[in-house]
Symmetry: C2
Subunit: 476 residues, 2 copies
């Protein structure tokens, strides 16, 4: 953490002005107070900031942004600080402020007839899920960091997670947003309307733009009926191609009821069994690949339908073995085998990560090609590709060879990225399926994105943030 002393009178004046807006207790300037806002989960980026400002209302956000606009002081908006690409961390040389939305966590309204919930940006995702649950509805966005990530961050990054296959990404779960623009004006777009064709889709400017076009301060979220019956299976199968055939079959038999279809390789399961306390293999023998399949049904019968599906898949030779969760405890045990993958990989040493997507039909070929190329470039490296097969999104992670030097392996990050992303490009895929661009992939973006698309992005950035004060150095 770089401590930037407020050395100039201008800096000191700015900080005093922030204090007048949000109260002195909500302007942090001490390195020890700021540390939690300037480091991030993977410790890839260390930030530095003039101060951390914690406004308590949209009006306060607007006032802070107006001041920053006048002073041309950069602003890095931050929610739960769980992002994986450094989008929420200020570069010290920018002398930016961190604008933390964490104090804005109010539930503004629930409207059951409209099936909507209006929440402030700082509400933690798990809290939003709980509010929906409390009124007999579901808010289906779900990701590993849901205990600390915030709705504002989820929307700013268009978060994905395990529910995308049934409900879409964060973008698909929003009816309206309120956002503060770069000049401090408030875009008051908290519409509960499902249908409104009066002009351009302005909320789309803010969702997924990682705080570079505006600061989301509140949102109207869609609520969904709570599934009455959930059925979960842990399935062993010989290959990704078989997993794809199983997905086809499942879609045919269960359609929109598929709420998770997660791929796990044997090596990933081995890692989890080795490192996660109490983890057990639900199946008797080993298999090359696994699928965690979950159905969520509106009425009873999900378990019957899942059993039927598994019997059919076995009859076609697509699957080798499967276990059905007989209790909520067992269901949680199955999910733990998926959720602990990243942590277990961390315990196995250095891991070079990719968050990629390709058209679903191309996943087996992509895995095969990428595997061949990485194995040639880094003999002994251990491939742990896993993730949201049903969405075409694979976390193509590569663990260091056993006994190799961690730092030497991690030094090859860009080189291995280049190889894997080359395969992704050949299949018309994405180098960031769900984690966003942030700082980590900003330079990569320029290499892989269509020049016309990049030009449009730059034009939008110039139009909405002419002074370039909103999250500079991120995305583009």
């Amino acid at each position: 953490v770089t401590s930037l002393s407020a050395s100039t009178p201008q800096d000191r004046g700015l900080i005093a002005a922030f204090e007048a807006i949000v109260g002195p207790a909500n302007v942090l300037t001490q390195p020890s107070d700021m540390a939690a806002y300037l480091t991030e989960p993977r410790d890839l980026f260390r930030g530095g900031a003039l101060c951390v400002v914690r406004p308590g209302s949209t009006a306060e956000v607007a006032a802070v942004v107006r001041l920053c606009s006048e002073a041309a002081t950069p602003i890095v908006p931050q929610g739960g600080n769980t992002g994986l690409v450094g989008g929420q961390i200020p570069a010290p040389e920018d002398r930016a402020i961190v604008l933390s939305l964490q104090r804005m966590r109010a539930l503004r309204e629930i409207d059951l007839a409209s099936n909507t919930m209006t929440v402030e940006a700082g509400m933690v995702l798990a809290a939003a899920q709980a509010e929906a649950d409390r009124v007999g509805r579901a808010f289906p966005l779900s990701l590993a960091s849901e205990g600390s990530c915030t709705i504002g961050g989820n929307l700013a990054t268009n978060a994905g997670g395990t529910g995308v296959i049934a409900y879409g990404s964060a973008r698909d779960l929003v009816l309206g947003v309120e956002a503060v623009l770069a000049d401090g004006r408030i875009y008051a777009g908290l519409s509960k309307l499902k249908k409104d064709n009066t002009g351009y889709d302005l909320k789309a400017l803010f969702i997924g733009s990682e705080g570079t076009l505006g600061i989301i301060t509140a949102a109207v979220l869609k609520l969904f009926p709570k599934p009455r019956a959930v059925a979960t299976a842990f399935i062993g199968l010989p290959s990704p191609a078989d997993a794809l055939a199983l997905l086809d079959l499942a879609r045919d038999k269960a359609g929109g009821e598929i709420t998770a279809f997660e791929l796990i390789p044997r090596l990933g399961l081995d890692f989890v069994l080795a490192h996660a306390q109490g983890a057990r293999d639900p199946l008797a023998g080993p298999h090359q690949w696994y699928i965690l399949l979950e159905l969520g049904a509106h009425e009873e019968g999900a378990a019957d339908r899942l059993l039927e599906l598994l019997a059919d898949a076995a009859g076609r030779g697509l699957i080798e073995d499967a276990a059905l969760a007989a209790s909520e405890t067992q269901r949680r045990d199955f999910w733990r085998l998926r959720d602990e993958l990243s942590e277990a990989q961390r315990r196995e040493g250095g891991s070079i990560k990719h968050d990629v997507s390709v058209p679903i039909a191309d996943i087996p070929a992509f895995l095969e090609e990428a595997g061949r190329i990485v194995a040639t470039a880094a003999p002994g490296a251990r491939l742990v590709p896993f993730g949201h097969l049903g969405d075409g999104n694979i976390h193509y992670n590569v663990s260091q060879p056993v006994g190799a030097d961690r730092d030497a392996f991690l030094a090859r990050w860009a080189e291995i990225n280049f190889l894997v992303h080359g395969v992704v490009a050949r299949y018309g895929g994405s180098i960031s399926a769900e984690h966003g661009i942030g700082q980590l992939k900003r330079d990569l973006l320029g290499e892989v994105k269509d020049p016309v698309a990049l030009d449009l992005m730059r034009a939008l950035k110039r139009t909405l943030d002419p002074k370039g004060i909103l999250n500079p150095g991120k995305v583009i």
Copy 2:
């Protein structure tokens, strides 16, 4: 239809250049040839154009737009010419060209694993539905004009229709678009990826912007499992409040299976029974209001679930009577009672129309208030509010008093609009839920839209179309 003679050498040169790009047969300059492109369904707008250009490929569209950009000649993109707000009709004084996408109707690809279909903008919606059906999938966008409207027009206007309650609007049914920008460059965004967080949501600029920010030439559409069982009921009930309670109950019992929830007032049914040949009231006695309710289920049992729901609703006193379609013929008969409403109203003389939405919970109060205000302002006027109750979208149509003068009644269009839209505004609703802005509501938009939102829209327009040649005078 105003015939604009290509009087200047510049005009003649431009037309010759268009002919060189698309072939002389695809540049129409004779008034008789152009007439079909310059009049529209409700005959509210009569257009005039230099010529109609019918390109056959994206490259030809790009070449035509480049020429127009150099000459600063306005372009009005047009699909099936079924729009209801004049968005597809050029104002004679603009001396614009109509760019018809109708020749670009190719199916470029179907990818069953990705559940996507890539089609060109000129493909008729019904043809897209048929292509999906042919491979055992559904493309669920459905509207009255589906036999002639095109995918490009559907996306440019973010079309709604009867399937929105289950599948969303056109915007929700698209993964990627290809579009020609105002300077003739091609945005090549035909991605099949369900997840791609590499930058801003650029397709959102084009979808719903009515051809004012770019010209959509092709799109990747989402495909869905075909419902295996469909159950349809025609239900009589005492009030919109009861209809809302029925919707709540239906959501609770059938959740995502509700594929239509359409409101019809008794007077509307009377109109249809009087004018649509062979139409019959499915119920024995009269009721104040009706709901056309349809469930689409992945597995059998939809009819049982619907029966159960109706019995429960009857037990709670929400509904007075109901008929269940026993055959596909009967189902079509039920739907005809809904689909013929506009035509039957036309037969009853002048009709002042509104396409509005309010939060769903506020629909009963909105209907009550608007009804009171309109009845006071126009005694004897006949209220026929109908439509997509499940989406909060009401076509609040007002038929002239019996025997009144049609033109005198229609002369009060703006006055009645003002009254109804005032009620809409009080409930935070939309003055164009699904038809868009076009020419018809452009001036209204300035009055009702938030100034910051209008400013953002103007900024986007300036950025993407600095010369103002894309569909001038529409939307903003």
